[in-house]
């Protein structure tokens, strides 16, 4: 277990390093810079700007300077949003992004597990078939299709919920973005947990638990469920990555002032530092979550715990 975690940590740091390096050099390969404008800036002024941002130094110096900043938790100034540092921009967008993302994770887990386990307990019944068909629909319809459809139905036709905006995170504004972001993941979690639960219910130790006369409720909750959680837990890493990526689109569709919405805009504007900041924050979150997943995995699976 300890060794396992150590190995994860040992992968995490180089990964982060690669992310920083890759995104730095990829952004710099781009033709065009952050100060390109319709009307060219006089050369003296351009030189002054570049000097202020150290853009006149050789690339490797800039890279080292940036790397040093990142190590100290400083992502530098934004080139396009004047007078703002990347840290400030990220801090501004973070609450909205994390509210939507966190609620989507919770919804995906709660609804997905409930549906998957119910389906497994009633295997081959109409409940099972309808849950699995719905899950198929959820997987086949990406969130950027689901979101406009939901807006069309609930905001335009029925008028129950707002079609977009943030409203300082009030509940009605949260429902549609969270649901459309979570639905594909609900479907995946449901399929995973159904499969795992069916396997567990046929396992020998579950038969033993039944044979010694335990109540069905206990057999399911205490014996079958922890084993059935394993594949779901290990899916948490890829799920976060998918949710983060999806949030870029969801934040755009619903005009939520989050980090994801900055990303595409900044990439198009060549605002190097903002783009890199977002990528690094997202990568760090994925790595941290994988670490947490490993911890939980160890708690659930004795085979890993005693390794």
């Amino acid at each position: 277990m300890g060794r396992h975690l150590l190995r994860r940590l040992a992968i995490g740091l180089p990964t982060l390093f690669i992310v920083v390096t890759l995104s730095f050099y990829m952004m710099r390969l781009a033709p065009g810079g952050p100060f390109d404008q319709e009307r060219p800036i006089p050369p003296e002024i351009l030189r002054n700007i570049q000097e202020a941002y150290h853009l006149d130094e050789p690339l490797w110096r800039q890279y080292l300077r940036y790397l040093g900043g990142v190590v100290r938790g400083d992502f530098g100034p934004s080139y396009r949003t004047k007078d703002f540092t990347v840290n400030e921009l990220l801090a501004e967008g973070a609450p909205a992004s994390f509210t939507v993302g966190g609620l989507a994770v919770l919804l995906a887990l709660a609804l997905g597990l409930a549906a998957g386990i119910t389906a497994a307990l009633r295997q081959n019944s109409w409940i099972d078939y309808s849950v699995m068909s719905l899950a198929m629909v959820g997987i086949a319809i990406p969130s950027f299709v689901m979101a406009p459809m939901l807006i069309l139905l609930f905001a335009v036709h029925l008028g129950w919920l707002p079609a977009g905006g943030w409203g300082n995170g009030a509940l009605p504004f949260l429902i549609l973005p969270v649901v459309s972001l979570a639905l594909p993941q609900v479907a995946r979690v449901a399929r995973l947990s159904r499969g795992a639960m069916i396997e567990q219910l046929h396992a020998n130790y579950v038969r033993t638990a039944r044979a010694k006369g335990l109540r069905e409720q206990l057999v399911v909750l205490r014996h079958a469920l922890p084993g059935a959680m394993l594949p779901v837990v290990s899916y948490l890493g890829p799920m976060t990555a998918a949710l983060l990526t999806g949030s870029v689109v969801i934040e755009t569709i619903f005009s939520i002032p989050g980090i994801g919405r900055y990303f595409v805009q900044s990439a198009l504007n060549r605002d190097y530092t903002v783009v890199m900041g977002v990528v690094i924050v997202y990568a760090a979150m994925i790595i941290l979550l994988n670490l947490a997943v490993d911890l939980v995995y160890g708690l659930l699976d004795p085979k890993v715990r005693h390794d």
Partner: protein, 298 residues
């Protein structure tokens, strides 16, 4: 492009025919109604995409100034209506199918090539090399790849060939893991030992003896990768980073439709329907193949 990619896939399938395992699997696959229906629908969409210019009287980029944003109109043969620039939506959806399917198949082929060779080498060589190669895959796994793809598309412009390669390069990781796992179990078999004894080189053993024997799970994963790639391409197009006008893809159409959904819902519904049905079909075929190739069922 789609046909070419498809033909390549078919050629590969042809190579492994004649084995009882594959005949067995095929029989079981054809007994799966959902999978068969999916194959028929996909075939129809594919044929529609290829024959697009002959299926509608309208060219895909012709602008009808007097028919802008019209709902489905059978008198003028605008079966799906027209878009905001007065172009026929039916023919544009079929042209979008060309791009979406081509990207799906081509990027999957790229990921197939990289993943199979990488995974087979790693599993076959074993030991320290395997350890290092798989560690690299672990690291790449935790990169937020979609963001790099987005940066790439921004940096190098919306280049469709680059899109194939970028998406293929993202999708090969899982393929490599699957193939490595399979290779580990195959490489202890007697026929590999026999090949070693006969003095066959490592490369030839991997290509001729290992890879053909790990194809089962790979085929299943391929049918699941194609919809994944199609979805990713649509995602990029939705963000405005996909193919460029006047060409189109389902993602572009959906994105345009989403902007008009209150006044012109058909512009969203038809492309979304095509994308959804296609993804559905691939998933059903993948599930069917998995059941058909599952040794536990035999």
């Amino acid at each position: 492009m789609a046909m070419q990619a498809h033909a390549d896939l078919l050629a590969q399938a042809g190579e492994v025919e004649g084995r009882s395992l594959w005949q067995d699997a095929r029989r079981r696959l054809f007994r799966n109604k959902a999978a068969v229906v999916s194959m028929v629908i996909l075939l129809l969409i594919l044929v529609g995409a290829v024959l697009a210019p002959w299926l509608s009287p309208h060219p895909f980029d012709e602008v009808y100034w007097d028919r802008i944003g019209m709902p489905p109109d059978y008198a003028n043969a605008h079966w799906f209506g027209t878009d905001n620039n007065g172009r026929d939506l039916f023919v544009r959806v079929l042209y979008g199918a060309r791009v979406s399917l081509a990207v799906g198949f081509a990027a999957t082929l790229v990921s197939l090539a990289i993943g199979v060779i990488y995974g087979a080498m790693s599993g076959f060589l074993g030991g320290k090399v395997d350890e290092a190669m798989m560690r690299l895959v672990d690291i790449l796994y935790s990169l937020p790849f979609m963001f790099f793809v987005i940066i790439l598309m921004v940096v190098f412009g919306r280049n469709i060939i680059l899109l194939f390669i970028a998406l293929g390069a993202v999708e090969w990781l899982t393929m490599a893991r699957i193939v490595r796992g399979q290779t580990l179990s195959v490489k202890r078999k007697e026929f590999i030992e026999a090949a070693h004894a006969a003095g066959v080189s490592n490369w030839r053993i991997v290509l001729r003896h290992v890879i053909p024997n790990v194809l089962g799970p790979v085929v299943v994963y391929v049918t699941l990768t194609v919809p994944e790639v199609i979805m990713t391409e649509s995602f990029l197009s939705f963000l405005g980073l996909g193919v460029q006008e006047p060409y189109t893809s389902w993602g572009v159409l959906i994105s345009e439709g989403a902007g008009q959904m209150e006044s012109a819902p058909w512009m969203l519904i038809y492309p979304a329907l095509f994308l959804g049905v296609t993804l559905f079909c691939f998933n059903f075929i993948g599930d069917g193949l998995r059941d058909a190739l599952d040794p536990k069922d035999r």
